[in-house]
C-alpha cells in the first residue's frame, strides 16, 4: 500500500499574540515527536502562495490556526473537509499575507487538493498586541490541539514516536520561552507604532472611523493574490 502524504501545517504570525497559535502547536509537535517519513510538520508562518504547492502535494492535511469566528475565547474547534474554507481568513494580520482560504482556493483551481482536510482552530483572546505571546487560555490549548491531531492521524494508522527529552528541531530564534523572556518592557518599547511619530505634539490618537456617506466598494486586494 502506498503511504499517503500527510502535512501538519501551522499558520499564523508569531508577532501578533494569539495569531501565533498554529505555529506554536507545530513547534511543540517538532519538539515532542518523531514522525514517519510520509508526514511533514511545517511552520507555514504567513507564507501565502508559497504554501500552495505543499497543500497540493498533501493527501491528508491538518491545519492549525487561530480562527476568529465568534466562539468563546480560548475554545478549540475541529472543522472537516468542505467546511474548512468558510472558517479561514477571518482576519489577516500581515499585509502581504495571502489568506489561507485563497491558498486552498488556488490548490483547488490548479486541480490538486487534499482528500482529507482537518482544521484545528482556537478562538483567540487577543490579536492586537505586537510582540506579545499567546494568552494563557490559548496557550493551554496547545496540548489538546496536538492530541486532536494525533487522534486523527491514528485513524489512518499513523503513530509518531514520542521523544522523551525535548529537543529543539525548530528554529531556536523562534522558541516560545525565548520570545517571551526577551520581550522589552512597555516602558522601553512603544507598542503602538513609532513613538517619534505618534507621540508628536500635534497627534492625538483616536480609532479610525467609518467615513460619512462613503460608498463601500471592495478595492482592497491585499492578501488576495
Amino acid at each position: 500500500m502506498i503511504k499517503p502524504n500527510v502535512l501538519l501545517l501551522g499558520i499564523g504570525n508569531l508577532l501578533w499574540a494569539d495569531e501565533g497559535f498554529g505555529v506554536r502547536v507545530v513547534e511543540q509537535l517538532l519538539k515532542s515527536y518523531v514522525f514517519p517519513e510520509n508526514v511533514t510538520v511545517m511552520d507555514g508562518g504567513t507564507q501565502g502562495i508559497y504554501l500552495v504547492e505543499h497543500v497540493q502535494q498533501a493527501d491528508i492535511l491538518i491545519v492549525f490556526d487561530a480562527i476568529d469566528f465568534g466562539f468563546p475565547a480560548g475554545s478549540l474547534h475541529q472543522i472537516h473537509d468542505d467546511d474548512v474554507p468558510n472558517f479561514l481568513g477571518a482576519k489577516k494580520m500581515s499585509l502581504h499575507q495571502t489568506g489561507f482560504q485563497e491558498v486552498l482556493a488556488m490548490a483547488q483551481l490548479l486541480g490538486e487538493y487534499p482528500k482529507q482536510l482537518l482544521l484545528i482552530g482556537v478562538q483567540p483572546v487577543e490579536l492586537e498586541d505586537f510582540g506579545g505571546s499567546l494568552r494563557p487560555v490559548v496557550k493551554a490549548q496547545i496540548k489538546p490541539a496536538m492530541t486532536l491531531a494525533l487522534n486523527y492521524l491514528q485513524t489512518f494508522g499513523i503513530e509518531p514516536l514520542e521523544i522523551a527529552d525535548m529537543v529543539t528541531l525548530a528554529d531556536p530564534m523562534l522558541d516560545i520561552a525565548r520570545y517571551e523572556n526577551e520581550r522589552p518592557s512597555e516602558t522601553v518599547a512603544c507598542r503602538l507604532g513609532d513613538e517619534r511619530v505618534i507621540f508628536a505634539p500635534d497627534i492625538k490618537i483616536t480609532p479610525p472611523q467609518t467615513l460619512d456617506g462613503a460608498v463601500a466598494v471592495p478595492v482592497d486586494f491585499r492578501g488576495k493574490y
Binding site: I49, Y50, V52, E53, P85, L95, H96, Q101, E102, A105, M106, Q108, L109, L110, G111, E128, L192, G193, D194, R196, V197, I198, A200, D202, I203, K204, I205, T206, P207, P208, Q209, T210, L211, G213, A214, V215, A216, V217, P218, V219, D220, F221, R222, G223, K224, Y225
Partner: protein, 598 residues
C-alpha cells in the same frame, strides 16, 4: 476651484469631484491615491501618498556594514534579494572589495531570476485582472479558445479544447460554490473590460499555469541563496561553495544542482516565449485604443543600469541593462548618470512627512536625513488619524521626492526599455520593433499604461535569455578550474579605512534602486535607500513638479468613478510596492477599504 500649471507641464484643476482610493496595491499595501474628476469623469488632478513610514535607515545606524544586506532585504518580501545585492555592492564600493567572476555570474543569475519571476507574477497575478475578466471566461467556447491559442502561440502544446474545457469546469464549479477565491473584489460588470470570453478563458488558464510555474523558477534562487524569500548574500562574493564532484562538501553546488538550474532556465525561456509574450500581445491587441497612463514616460526617464558583464566594472559600457537619463522628452540625447554627483540625485521633502534643516533644499543621499515630521495642511479634511482628504499643498506623503537634476523621473521596465531604444541597444530595439509591428502601433504607443506592461514582458524575455548567457559563462569558468565564489581578504575590519563612503545600485524589477552608506570606525554612520517606488510614487517637490504616478493618472477617463478600474490599471502598471517606500501610522492597523466619491 484652483487651476495650476506645474513646471513639468501638467494643468492641475482641483475642482469637480474628488475620488479617494485607499489602499491601491494588491499585495504590499500602504498607498493612497486621490484624484479630482471633472464633469466628464476625466482626471484633472492627482495626488499619490505613501501612507506608511519605513525607517530602516534608522535601524541600520551603528551596525556592522557586513550585516546590512540582511536587514535591508526585509524592506520587501516580493522583490526579495535585490535590496541585499544593492547593499553588498554599496559596502564593496566603500571598502574597495572586488568579487570573483563566478560570484558576479551567480549574482546576475539570481537578479535575473528575480526579474523573470517578479514580472511573471506581476503580469498574471497582480495586474492581469485589471484587463481580464474571469467571470466572463465562463461564457467562452472551448473550441474557439483552442483555436485562439493555436493562432497566437502555435508551439504551445497545451492548446486543446479539452484542456480549456477542464479549466473552465473547475472555474465554474468554483464560482457556483459561491466562492470567487482569488477573483473576489473585481468590477466584473464594468464596461472597461474588453476581452472576448475566449481570450478571458485563455488568460485565466495561464494565470493558473503561471502560478504553478513561478514556484519552480524560484528554485534557482534557493539553490544559490539557500532559501527564498530572503536568500543569503555575502560582502565579497556569494555564500555558496562550488564542488562539481559533489563529494565531501555538504551544501556545496554540485553538477546535479547546476543541471537543475540549467533546466529551469530553459523552462523559463519556453514559458515566456510560448505563454507570456503571446498573451501580452493578444490582450494588448484588444486594448489598443486605451492609451492612457503615459505620464512621464514620454518625457523624463531614469535608469542606473545593472547586470555587469565582467565582474567589478560598474561603468555604463559594461552593464547589459542600460543606464541613462532622458529629460524634456528628447529621446535623441541620453544623459550620463552618476550616482556620486551631489548635483544629480537629490531628495526633497516640502511635501513629505520629514524634516530637513532647510525644507526647500534637496539633499544627496550621502548627506540624507530621515527625520519623521508628520504634519497635515490646513485644508486637510477629516482628522489626523482618519484623513478623508489630503491637502497636497502641504506635506502629504511618507515618500520623499527624489529628483534627477531637478526633474521628476519615471523608473522601471519602460524607462529601461525606452532608454535602451534611444541608445540603439540592439536586443531591446529588436524586441520593441517586433511588438510595434505585431500590434501595428507607432512608437508613441509605448508611452502608456500598456507600454509599461509590455516593456515588463519584453524585459522578462530578455532576462531569461541573459540567465542562459551567465549560466553558460559560469559553467565554462568552473570547467576551466576556477571555483572561487568569494574574496575574503578584506573581511576583517582592521583592513578597512576608518571613514569611507560607498554607493551600490541595481535595477530592481520596479526600477532604479540605490543604497548610499557612510562607514565610520567599522560601523554604519549613515544609510539611505532611494527605491524605485520613491521615484515613481513621489509627491510634489518644492517647485511643484508632480511625480510619475500622479502624472500617469492625469487626463484619464474613469468610466464609473465608483469602480475606478482605470486608476488601478495605471497604478498597477508600475507594480507599486509601497513597503519599499515608506511603517504603520494607524495605531490599530485598521484597513480603510472604501472609495469615497465626493
Amino acid at each position: 476651484m484652483t487651476a495650476i500649471i506645474t513646471p513639468n507641464g501638467y494643468n492641475l484643476d482641483t475642482g469637480g469631484r474628488r475620488i479617494v482610493v485607499d489602499p491601491v496595491t494588491r499585495i504590499e499595501g500602504h498607498m493612497r491615491c486621490e484624484v479630482n474628476i471633472d464633469e466628464n469623469n476625466i482626471i484633472r488632478n492627482a495626488v499619490s501618498s505613501g501612507t506608511m513610514w519605513r525607517g530602516l535607515e534608522v535601524i541600520l545606524k551603528g551596525r556592522d556594514p557586513r550585516d546590512a544586506w540582511a536587514f535591508v532585504q526585509r524592506i520587501c518580501g516580493v522583490c526579495t534579494g535585490t535590496h541585499a545585492l544593492t547593499s553588498v555592492r554599496a559596502v564593496e564600493d566603500a571598502l574597495k572589495i572586488s568579487i570573483p567572476e563566478n560570484a558576479n555570474s551567480i549574482r546576475n543569475i539570481m537578479q535575473l531570476t528575480l526579474q523573470v519571476q517578479d514580472h511573471l507574477v506581476h503580469f498574471y497575478h497582480l495586474h492581469a485582472l485589471d484587463w481580464v475578466n474571469p467571470v466572463n471566461a465562463l461564457k467562452a467556447d472551448s473550441q474557439a479558445t483552442s483555436e485562439l491559442q493555436q493562432k497566437i502561440s502555435p508551439h504551445n502544446p497545451k492548446s486543446s479544447a479539452g484542456y480549456f474545457r477542464d479549466v473552465q469546469t473547475r472555474i465554474r464549479k468554483f464560482v457556483e460554490s459561491g466562492q470567487l477565491g482569488p477573483f473576489k473584489n473585481g468590477y466584473w460588470t464594468n464596461p472597461a473590460y474588453l476581452l472576448p470570453p475566449e481570450a478571458d478563458l485563455m488568460a485565466v488558464t495561464h494565470y493558473l499555469e503561471a502560478l504553478d510555474f513561478q514556484k519552480d523558477i524560484m528554485k534557482i534562487r534557493t539553490i544559490f541563496g539557500g532559501k527564498d524569500p530572503h536568500p543569503n548574500w555575502l560582502v565579497g562574493g556569494v555564500p555558496c561553495a562550488i564542488n562539481v564532484d559533489g563529494v565531501g562538501a555538504v551544501g556545496a553546488i554540485n553538477m546535479e544542482r547546476l543541471n537543475l538550474i540549467s533546466s529551469l532556465i530553459d523552462q523559463s525561456i519556453t514559458f515566456i516565449d510560448q505563454v507570456y509574450i503571446p498573451d501580452l500581445l493578444a490582450i494588448a491587441g484588444f486594448y489598443k485604443g486605451w492609451l492612457y497612463g503615459g505620464g512621464l514616460s514620454g518625457t523624463s526617464l531614469l535608469s542606473y543600469g545593472d547586470i555587469p558583464d565582467k565582474a567589478n566594472d560598474y561603468s555604463a559600457s559594461n552593464l547589459l541593462m542600460p543606464r541613462g537619463a532622458i529629460i524634456n522628452g528628447d529621446l535623441s540625447k541620453v544623459h550620463e548618470v552618476d550616482l556620486r554627483d551631489p548635483e544629480q540625485i537629490q531628495e526633497f521633502v516640502p511635501h513629505s512627512w520629514y524634516a530637513y534643516p532647510d525644507d526647500l533644499k534637496g539633499l544627496h543621499p550621502w548627506d540624507g536625513i530621515t527625520e519623521p515630521h508628520f504634519k497635515l495642511g490646513n485644508k486637510t479634511k477629516g482628522t489626523k488619524t482618519n484623513i478623508q482628504e489630503l491637502d497636497e499643498n502641504a506635506k502629504y506623503s511618507w515618500i520623499k521626492a527624489p529628483r534627477w537634476r531637478g526633474h521628476a523621473m519615471e523608473v522601471g521596465p519602460l524607462a529601461r526599455y525606452v532608454i535602451g531604444y534611444a541608445q540603439g541597444n540592439k536586443e531591446i530595439t529588436e524586441q520593441i520593433n517586433f511588438v510595434l509591428k505585431t500590434l501595428d502601433v507607432p512608437v508613441t504607443a509605448l508611452f502608456s499604461t500598456l507600454g509599461r506592461t509590455a516593456a515588463r514582458g519584453l524585459e522578462a524575455q530578455w532576462a531569461a535569455g541573459k540567465m542562459r548567457y551567465f549560466m553558460d559563462k559560469l559553467v565554462t569558468n568552473i570547467k576551466a578550474g576556477d571555483l572561487a565564489t568569494a574574496n575574503v581578504t578584506k573581511w576583517q575590519t582592521d583592513t578597512w579605512d576608518s571613514h569611507v563612503k560607498g554607493v551600490g545600485f541595481t535595477e530592481a524589477p520596479r526600477g532604479a534602486l540605490g543604497h548610499w552608506l557612510v562607514i565610520k570606525d567599522a560601523k554604519i554612520e549613515n544609510y539611505q535607500c532611494v527605491v524605485p517606488t520613491t521615484w515613481n510614487g513621489s509627491p510634489r517637490d518644492e517647485a511643484g513638479n508632480i511625480g510619475a504616478f500622479e502624472a500617469a493618472l492625469m487626463n484619464t477617463k474613469v468610466e464609473r468613478p465608483e469602480e475606478p478600474v482605470e486608476i488601478l490599471r495605471t497604478l498597477h502598471s508600475f507594480d507599486p510596492c509601497l513597503a519599499c517606500s515608506t511603517h504603520v501610522i494607524s495605531p490599530d492597523g485598521t484597513e480603510l477599504t472604501q472609495v469615497k466619491v465626493r
